[in-house]
Amino acid sequence: MNPHDEHKEGIGGMANPGRYGIERIAYWLMRLTGLGLLGYFIAHIYETSNILRGQVGWDEFLDLTQTTEGHLFLTLVIGMCVFHTVNGIRVMLGHGGIGVGKPARPDYPYLPASQNSQHKIGIYSAIVLAAIAMVYGMAVMFGE
């Protein structure tokens, strides 16, 4: 089919950080972190299943992950987890209609009440908390 038939913007248009502000960044960070966490979760289940291989098998596998790369990866997972959780709470509140503003006569120039500072603060906090958690995680893992 001719791509112009539908003229959908596609995945590229979905990301689009420049045009639609921090809300759009939160949107795709949420997606990426969700997918990332799912990936990690599956890997984690597999990782723990190595316990069934007994002490040797477990230690063997543990050695594979206790590397600098492994720790960096875990740091990332911590960041993803914190962002996804905090932003997830924000999103759930929003989806429930909380903090999205009240309907009112709009006056030109129209500033959409749903794109308000509460939610922006929520997004920034998610990012900042994720960053803090990552630093803390690094301190724990590399600090030994």
């Binding site: 003229h7 959908k8 248009g13 759009r24 309907p103």
Partner: protein
């Protein structure tokens, strides 16, 4: 009697002094003929109040009669002229060249709508989605008899939905929405905002009916509160708010 001078004459006589010109890049594409979009460039004179639509019509008038573009009211009430201007969905008649702060203005057809030709896109899907959410008052006594009076409604009750009533069906929101960018079955912010408009009307009794309609796999749940719809809406409708409030009913936060 002193006749009034021609307005057109006066316009041209003053235009010379103050006008500057910009480059207008228009996306050209006819799916029946061309294999891909190309851009044509035109130098057009602009005043501080010249709108993008006026610039396009200037091109159509003087340089190339064949530019396909939809327009009518030229005052941001009919919803015809949505297009992507310098990368963002906007109304051409409601965007002044001067506010774009750029010597080059690029106009493209709206995303997420099939192209008919050049800047004109098909709206069938938007109209169908709008139709689907039953955008009318649902109640038993919609017909009047000789002694019918109004259904009382306080200004506060009116305030609950009037903002969503401002929708001109321009489709900019659907063009900006990230879900729409890949999901061609999504009902979209335009229709969802209209579902809310009627649900929130104190005269309406069709809430459950409508909530059921949008509760499907490509319904309201495909909105992730990205908010782009509200950011581009030229009429202050704020579909993102309407959608979340609607979902509030479904999650039991509101009744």
């Amino acid at each position: 009697m002193a006749q009034t001078p021609s307005i057109a004459e006066e316009k041209t006589s003053s235009a010379v002094s103050s006008s500057k010109s910009i480059t207008l890049r228009i996306a050209r594409f006819n799916p029946q003929k061309d294999s891909d979009t190309s851009f044509m460039e035109f130098k057009v004179p602009v005043e501080k109040w010249t709108t993008v639509l006026e610039a396009i019509l200037d091109v159509k008038k003087h340089f190339d009669h064949s530019v396909a573009v939809r327009y009518s009211c030229r005052q941001a009430t009919c919803g015809s002229c949505g297009m992507v201007i310098n990368g963002k969905p906007r109304l051409a008649c409601f965007t002044k060249i001067s506010e774009l702060n750029s010597d080059t203005v690029t106009v493209e057809p709206m995303h997420n709508f099939p192209i008919i030709r050049d800047l004109a896109v098909r709206f069938d899907r938007l109209f169908n989605s709008h139709h689907k959410v039953k955008p009318y008052l649902i109640r038993d006594d919609t017909d009047v008899s000789s002694d019918t009076k109004e259904i009382l409604q306080s200004p506060e009750e009116l305030e609950q939905f009037i903002q969503f009533s401002n929708c001109i069906k321009c489709g900019l929101c659907n063009s900006a929405c990230p879900t729409m960018a890949t999901d061609s079955s999504f009902v979209g912010p335009q229709a969802l905002a209209q579902a809310y408009r009627y649900v929130a009307d104190s005269r309406d009794k069709g809430k459950d009916n409508r909530l059921k309609i949008i509760d499907e796999s490509h319904g309201i749940w495909r909105c992730h509160f990205a908010g782009s719809c509200s950011q581009v809406c030229p009429k202050g409708v704020d579909p993102a708010m309407g959608i979340q409030l609607l979902r509030g009913y479904m999650l039991g936060f509101r009744s």
